[in-house]
Amino acid sequence: MYLPLKLPQNPEQRPGYMPVLLPMKSHAAPVGVGTMVQSFLSTKMGLFVLAAFLISLGAASYAQAASGAQLGTIALLWKWTPLLAKGFGFNVLISILSMAIGTVLGVCLGILQVSPNGIIRRVAWLVTQFFRNSPWLVLLFYCILLIPFEIEVFGTTIPFPGWLKAVIGLSLPVMAYMSEYMRGAIQSLPSGQWESADSLGFSRGQTMRMVILPQTVKRLLPPWMNLYAVLTMATPLVSIVGVDEIMSFARAALASENRVDLLIPMYLYVLCWFFIYCFPISGLTRRLENRFAVKS
């Protein structure tokens, strides 16, 4: 029969308790310049920037009312909000699809980068560096102009619309960044993990699947989320190559209103949309980074 060992509730009464074995207590909390600054980059800061946005929008509309124009700026922005919301929906859709494709490809490429085969390793490294160091816009042009607009597979024609090509174009740099993060995460694990899995009779594939990859998730999550925020901020690029999204809708709205005073509020409004979407992501990333910080 198994008898659970009963320990006294008070740790000081437990056998083997010695104060000298406790971790050293720091008596004074270190207060540096950093902690002060850090607090400013927090949620408060986000609200501060958002307030600045709204005040500048309000100031613009106030100046408008003073000059006695037909329709106030706020009313005009409100009028175009449904269209902009639809456009931003496209941005989010493109970013999610690219992220999904890029992540899957990037994880595979990252694993190839630590392959025991030297040739595979070098080719994977080269592909990663190539896509990581070429500009996003050039890759986007590459995919938009060089992927055919329809592909024939076994007699059926699969159309390849522009937005799908844009998704592929944006997923290439995501793949490269993900591959680098993956390699870094795998190599940051202590080699003891590989050796103990080896000694337990795991094959290389099993070690990768059951030991290494689960441990990389924790290290990958913060840079992955940061990458998603960066990707979302890169989605307006697709408007340059002629795919509809918030920026192209905003410019269409500006063209149809044809009012100079609407320019600043409209662009600020678009910036506001992105800020509200991206700021929480980067805030969460920072928090996760602090929580998952690998102690050295």
């Binding site: 600054v37 980059l41 160091n133 500009p135 050039v138 042009f141 102009l145 307006p236 600020l268 800020f275």
Partner: protein, 247 residues
């Protein structure tokens, strides 16, 4: 020169690979002008972004709360909004409003599209640099700063002569990543019709209908530019290394 041109003509005639910049002097001139403008754009943006970063990081250690809040707001804003929309905001919104009357009586833009591109990229990368320098400054030991105060340095002197030289060495790796990103971001100037590398290449491939060849040349050019920058940064890192300090 003629043998090079003959080679590219042969490439086109025999293999159908039409690299017009190899044998057409007009296209080559256009391409080299674009390359030169991209280099100018990159160097100016890198210089001003480093300046913005250094000033921002200094201001963020200020004892005044309002200054810290303003710098924090600047960094938060530029880090969390798309660079392309920032560029549009500067060029189409501010650029349209900021006009001066020229001698002919017509409204002239105060800053050219090239100027707005430099301003926008500098602020965007400068916000990132502020963060990078800040974490570098944090890593400078407090005792070093206290020692310099004890030697009678003022806050600004301490920053310029003691903190910044050490902080630069600590933050060089992440600075390198950001500057590489900045060079890649200069392609966005295409949207303002600044005739940089991407823009002139697009013109060449629309004229000559050699999209595939020009695309590959373009990609290789950018990878080459980035490789040069990485090499310079690497040399710089090596030259700045103080034995016994840092890794």
């Amino acid at each position: 020169m003629t043998s090079v041109e003959a080679f590219f003509e042969m490439l086109y005639d025999v293999h159908g690979i039409n690299v017009t910049i190899g044998y057409d002097s007009w296209d080559r001139g256009q391409f080299l002008d674009g390359l030169w403008l991209t280099v100018q754009l990159s160097v100016l943006s890198i210089f001003f972004s480093l300046l913005v970063g250094a000033i921002g990081a200094w201001a963020q250690g200020s004892p005044l709360r309002i200054i810290r809040a303003l710098v924090g707001g600047f960094v938060t804003f530029f880090r969390n909004t798309p660079p392309l929309v920032q560029l549009y905001f500067f060029f189409f919104a501010l650029g349209t409003v900021l006009r001066i009357e020229s001698d002919t009586g017509l409204a002239q833009p105060l800053v050219s599209n090239f100027g707005w591109a430099v301003i926008s990229f500098s602020l965007f990368a400068g916000a990132m640099n502020t963060e990078i320098f800040r974490s570098g400054i944090e890593a400078v030991p407090n005792s070093t700063i206290e020692a310099s105060y004890a030697m009678g340095f003022t806050r600004l002197q301490t920053y310029i002569y003691i903190v910044l030289p050490l902080a630069i060495r600590i933050s060089l790796p992440s600075l390198g990543t950001n500057l590489v990103n900045l060079v890649k971001t200069t392609t966005l100037a295409y949207a303002l019709a600044v005739p940089e590398l991407l823009y002139v290449s697009a013109q060449i491939w629309s004229d000559q209908l050699n999209v595939r060849e020009m695309m590959n040349v373009l990609l290789l050019s950018y990878v080459g530019l980035v490789a040069i920058l990485v090499w310079i940064l690497h040399r710089w890192e090596k030259a700045l290394r103080i034995p016994g300090f840092g890794g």
